[in-house]
Amino acid sequence: MIADGLIAAAILVVAMATVAARGAFTAVALFIAYGLLLSFAWVRLGAPDIALTEAAIGAGLSGALLLGAAARAGRAAERPPGRAMTAAIALGCTGVTVALAAAILLLPDPAPSLAPQVAANMATTGLGNPVAAVLMAFRGLDTLLESAVLVLAVIAAWSLAPDEAWGGPSGVAQPMSRDGPLALLARLLPPLGILAAVHILWIGKDAPGGKFQAAAILAAMWMLAWMAGRVAPPQVSARWLRVVVAAGPALFIAIGMLGWLTEGAFLAYPPGLALPIIMVVEVALTASIAVALALLVMGPPGRRA
């Protein structure tokens, strides 16, 4: 109880400091701290899968993305609102907070829950992790659409490349570091990271873990080698890149269609074959999502000097 209060107080303080920060870099550093503290909150709420995802994607990859942006973002284009307007905004936001807090305090007791239904039907999927069962079997359509959203985000980010840079290497040019600390990290960490990612992907079927966390780690390892200049950034026009990004969602859709033909419902799995099919789709999705995440964080092709 004390631990919860301290964690909540810390998150609140860091969030307020982020909004009130002077410079972009300070704000991003505080935001990364907020993301890591939020992972604690998720653990305390009994959601270890979400804690892993928040730490990997919410704090880790977002942090890398936003630090790069803070270094290159320009000045504000508008003036800040005046005192009266700021006070009005603060009043409005307080109203929203109070309304949400009232909703929380007035939640029905006993709480409605789908946990019994999930527990009753989980055995048919062969998975031991209830969140994975919900993601891949019971709400499989959501996961399919989510992976499609990532593909769309990659396309949208690429479309923001300036015309003369289209088709070129993704992201801004990184100098090659031959030796030194960054090269050490880029040589040492990727094998360990790949091992950790495969492990998290595999145990995700029975314990907290899964493809999003594994994909985030794989993306981070690729980005590490990329930023150290040890691997060449992929050309946006490269065919293998586009095939890998699209392959995961395409496979998922194909399996859904197969389910429609054999079982009569989109994304229905034949009984007894659910676990192998789910794992195959998960592996394919991990590869696609990892490549998509790395491309999104490193950014569209930029102007070359």
Binding site: G180, P181, L182, L184, L185, L188, L189, L192
Partner: protein
């Protein structure tokens, strides 16, 4: 026996917290970037090592203990690599 192990574990975690506090004090009070980096990396390594030591008796038998030690080693490696990078950047400024 378990009382002794619990007491030792709590003592190690508290000692680790003391080192973290010392490192943060160094971060806030030291004059320039290099000395701040020095305080931060050294004190944090030791603090984390002590906390890991304190958590080892409480970890799961098979998988937990090696993972805790691996976490400590990875933090060691990454901050050992990040320190010189930051110092180089600070010197250039």
């Amino acid at each position: 026996m378990s009382l002794l192990v619990d007491a030792a574990s709590i003592a190690a975690i508290l000692a680790g917290l003391v080192f973290f506090a010392a490192g943060t004090a160094g971060l806030l009070r030291f004059p320039d970037a290099s000395s701040r980096l020095h305080a931060l990396t050294k004190a944090d390594h030791l603090g984390l090592g002590l906390i890991v030591l304190g958590l080892l008796p409480r970890a799961d038998a098979v998988g937990g203990a090696p993972r805790l030690v691996a976490v400590w080693l990875l933090v060691l490696v990454s901050s050992a690599a990040a320190g010189p990078l930051l110092a180089r950047l600070a010197r250039r400024r």
